[in-house]
Structure formats: structure tokens, C-alpha cells
Amino acid sequence: MFIIGERINGMFRSVARAIRDRDANAIADLARRQVAAGAHALDLNTGPTADDPAEVMTWLVQTVQEATDVPLSIDSARPPVIAAGLRACRRPAIINSTTGAKAKLDALLPLAREYGAGLIALTNDERGIPRNAAARAEIALTIVARAMEAGLPTDRLYLDPIVLPVNAAQDQCKEALEAVAMFRTLCEPAPHILLGLSNVSQGTTNRSLINRTYLVMAMALGCDAAILDPLDRDLIDAIRTARILLNQEIYAESYLQSQPA
């Protein structure tokens, strides 16, 4: 399970403050804590900012690279901000994200090629968010075909079935899970299948429990990556336990006591 830490996001008030004050120590500390807790990569999102977002993204990349050596996920809706982030990365990064919309793919596939980056692709398009698993798979297929045309190896694709909050679109939780199972067989080499996990529990009371329950179900269906909060210890423990139960890791009595792999 490839874990992308979600905490460096300007939507969080403390991160917004650190960005405003250019408090490198606060950002570096958050980067290090997430990696120590089990993150394999870190998502960077400037959030709404009064400054030039491309400049903020560059600063975030430089700051986090000083603190850790994991890959970075450059998270922005705007391709120029993503390009600025990629330029600053010393190691291959991940673009977060394209959709199946033509304009997005036209802008981001060349960037992924140029920078040797992975590409997260949400399975929605100009028509909006699909209502069921089959419609998600249809968009996924378009994305895969465009990636192959563009010469992006499909194992650098992270297909996201789009998780919606359970309190707002309860029926869609199951549709997204079914889409996970469908995505697995789309192409060779198989794409990664990624959840933007925290969305499922947006606005609910039992956030941690809902997150970890949903993720282990998705793992059983073939989900192998997620953007999540690695500082949620119960969530990380659930992932590690699921890995054992899915025979992805060797069992040992004290498996939770070792450093996460």
C-alpha cells in the first residue's frame, strides 16, 4: 500500500499560517512526522493563498525536500502551479491530478512525460462525477488510452474512482469500491488504484473509523495507494493488518511494533 501523506495542505489552518509566515520549520516537521509514521510520499497543496501559488508551491517543494527524501505529490487544479512544483523537484514526482476531461489530459500528460512523473487521474470528466462503477470504468479506459498514446507507462498512472462523503452520497461509496475491482483489469502493466480517502468521512463524527473501514475494504478489492492522514495511528495499524491478512506481508506476533515498511 503506497501511502501519500495529506497533511501539508493549505486548507489546514496551521499549514496556511506556516505558508503565510514562510515557517520552514513547521512544514519540515510535518513532513518528517508523516514519513516517520509510514508515508511513502507527501502531497503538497498550497490551499487558497494570497501569494502567487506557483511561488508558494516551489517554496513548499524546496522546504520538504530539505527535510525528507520521499517523492512528492504536486497537488493543484492549475497546470502552471503543477509545472512550477515539478521544476523544483529533485526526484520524480506525482502529479495530483488530472481528470478524464480532454483539456486536463492535454495539459498534464505532456508534463508527466517531460518530468518522468506519476499521474493521479480522477475518473470524472466534462460531464461531472459518474453515478456508478461502470461509468467510472469508462472514463478510466479513456484515461488509460490517452496515457498509452502519450507514451506514459500505465504503471505510472494512479486511477482514482472518486470517493464521496458517506453522509452526502451514501450509494456512491459502494459504486467506487466496485470501480476499484474493475480498474484492476484495464491494462497491462496494471495501473495503480488510489483513493482520496478522507473524503469518505467528510463532515462525519467517526472520521477515523469510517476511513479505516473503507480503506481495508478497498484494499481487498485491489486498491494499492491512498492519500490519507498517516498520523492517524489506528488507520496505519489497520493498513498493516490488512496487508498481513491479504498475504502481502509476513506475519509476526509483534508486527505492529516494527517500523512501518
Partner: protein, 325 residues
């Protein structure tokens, strides 16, 4: 028709472990031995060339089992009572890269030698040879726990590999090795889950994961070899898949086990159909070693000089192939 080779890449890498320390590193060894570092299954340089080839350690004992067969005694007859001379002979005559010193004599049912006597033997061997040293206990938990702290202390800074730690008895050894700068040989009884558990427990005590060598059990050709082989294979696969608690180099203590087999021991007079014992015994030991090499063993502990020579030839042949372009 051209055959396309299948290349495999793995997310994990096996830790490297260095045995021995030179003067610059705080010890007195003239050379050190580094094992591990692999990013692929054994002897597949096309997948990833291994930085360190497997090594052979020659075993020296401070007390030789009385029932040792004549074939095994003969080449070492002049040194069997003197571990320091035995070690020197291994290095000078047989070119040993490292010595594994087995301390049987402290065993209460044998000679019940004192911890100080064992420590003196270790010191004498360290003084007699300048290659790195592996130190093995007598497999009696309580006595080993008395002996280890003295032994590690007298070898302080030499970065020996000391063992074996077992799930029921590892704490004293880990503390002693942490204090005196040694690595630990961790043994589990042909059980991958327990082997992993032991690594977790030892690292929790503060032992770095690159100061551990795994020993997944003892077996020889005809006597459980395939069980140990398959566990070693699974351990290596798990390590290459990124499990840091199973990503250590592996050792196989072969000589002691191989020479328990009747096929290695019986004389030609006792078993005429099996042919010359002079050839058969070392061959049994070398054949066991060859199998464990394929399973991923990084460190082979052998007894008979001819088995040592044969195993070195096997390693040379298996590592002679360069990575295909």
C-alpha cells in the same frame, strides 16, 4: 529465435552487514568481510548485480565432539586441541576469509569451562589470525548468558558476529553486542514468522537492522534441507519485497549438520556400496552448501577443507557471469 530474458525489479534491498573491524575502525583485523546488499534473487546479475558475493567461514572448535569421523579429523589432526593453531592453519593453509569459533567447552554437560576460559580462547584466536571472527555459543541458554558478556568484552571493537540468539534467549546477547560493538546471528527454527518476530524484538532493544544476520535453522542434505531451503527463499523474497525485518543477510551453519549424516560419516568398510568416505564426506558437506547458496545464503560455515575449496569453486562459477548487456 532470440530469447527475451525476463528481468525482475524489487522494491526492497537486503541490508549489508560488515564483520570485522580494522585498526582505523577500532579493531585489529587486517581485513573485513561485507555481505548482503542484494537487490535481486541470487546469481541473477541481469536483474541487479550483487555488490557482495557469498563467503565461506571455516569453523574452529574449542572442543571437538568425540564421535567425529576419521575423514573429518585427518586434515586437522595436528590442531584439533588448539583453537588458535586451528584458526591459523585455516587462514594460512586454506586461505580462510573468516573464522567461526564454536565454543562448545562451556556446556555444563561437556567441559563446563568458565566464561573466563572461553574469553581467553576468543582472545587467543583473535591474536592468532587477522581475519574477522564469528563466535558461536554452546546452545545452553543459561551458560551462554554467562559466557557471552565476557566474550564480547574481550573482543570489544572487533565487530564480530556473535550467536546464536533464539526467541527464548536473545536479550543478554543483544545487550552485550550493543555494548561491545558486535553483530548478532539470529536463529529461528525453520519458521519465518518467528524469524521475523526475533528481528522485531531485537531491533526494539536498539540493535540496528544492519547488525543482524539471519540463521533460519539447521539442516543438511537428506535431513530437512528442503525445509530450510524454502524458508530461506521466502525470507529473501519478503526482504526484496520491502520487509525490513526480513531483509538481513542469511547464514547457514553447514559443517556441523552435514557431518551428522550417516552418508557423510560411515566408512567404506561399513558401507562398501557408497564408495570412498574420503570423497563422500566432503562432497556431502559441499552439496549442502551448494543448495543453500541457491536459496540465498550469504555466509556458509564449513568444516572440511575440501568442502571449503569445492564451495569456493561453486561461488566463483556462479558469480563469474557478468550482467548481460
Amino acid at each position: 529465435m532470440p530469447v527475451e530474458l525476463v528481468r525482475e525489479t524489487w522494491p526492497g534491498r537486503i541490508f549489508t552487514v560488515t564483520i570485522g573491524a580494522t585498526a582505523a575502525e577500532g579493531g585489529t583485523r587486517a581485513s573485513t568481510v561485507t555481505i548482503g546488499g542484494h537487490a535481486a534473487l541470487p546469481f541473477l546479475p541481469g536483474d541487479a548485480p550483487s555488490p557482495h558475493r557469498p563467503v565461506v567461514a571455516m569453523e574452529v572448535m574449542d572442543a571437538v565432539p568425540p564421535d567425529w569421523p576419521e575423514t573429518l579429523r585427518r586434515p586437522l589432526a595436528d590442531v584439533l586441541d588448539a583453537p588458535a593453531d586451528w584458526a591459523r592453519k585455516c587462514v594460512e593453509e586454506y586461505g580462510a576469509e573468516l573464522i567461526a569459533l564454536r565454543l562448545w567447552s562451556p556446556h555444563p554437560d561437556w567441559k563446563d569451562a568458565s566464561p573466563d576460559a572461553a574469553a581467553a580462547t576468543v582472545r587467543a584466536v583473535l591474536d592468532a589470525v587477522s581475519v574477522p571472527l564469528i563466535i558461536l555459543g554452546c546452545d545452553h541458554a543459561e551458560k551462554d548468558n554467562e559466557v557471552w558478556p565476557r566474550v564480547t568484552e574481550v573482543a570489544r571493537g572487533e565487530r564480530c558476529l556473535v550467536g546464536v540468539a533464539v526467541p527464548e534467549n536473545y536479550k543478554t546477547l543483544v545487550v552485550a553486542c550493543l555494548a561491545d560493538g558486535h553483530a548478532v546471528l539470529a536463529q529461528a527454527p525453520i519458521d519465518i514468522n518467528i524469524q521475523k518476530q526475533l528481528t522485531i524484538l531485537m531491533t526494539e532493544m536498539g540493535l540496528p537492522p544492519d547488525r543482524i544476520v539471519l540463521h533460519p535453522g539447521t539442516a543438511s542434505l537428506g535431513y530437512g534441507l528442503e525445509y530450510e531451503y524454502s524458508i530461506m527463499e521466502r525470507i529473501r523474497l519478503a526482504g526484496l519485497q520491502g520487509d525490513r525485518m526480513l531483509a538481513q543477510p542469511m547464514a547457514a551453519i553447514i559443517g556441523e549438520e552435514a557431518w551428522k549424516a550417516k552418508e557423510a560419516r560411515l566408512t567404506e568398510a561399513e558401507m562398501p556400496a557408497w564408495g570412498s568416505a574420503e570423497r563422500r564426506g566432503p562432497a556431502w558437506e559441499a552439496a549442502t552448501a551448494a543448495a543453500f547458496l541457491q536459496a540465498g545464503a550469504d555466509l556458509l560455515v564449513l568444516l572440511h577443507p575440501e568442502a571449503v575449496a569445492a564451495t569456493r569453486r561453486t561461488i566463483a562459477a556462479l558469480t563469474a557471469v557478468a550482467a548481460p548487456a
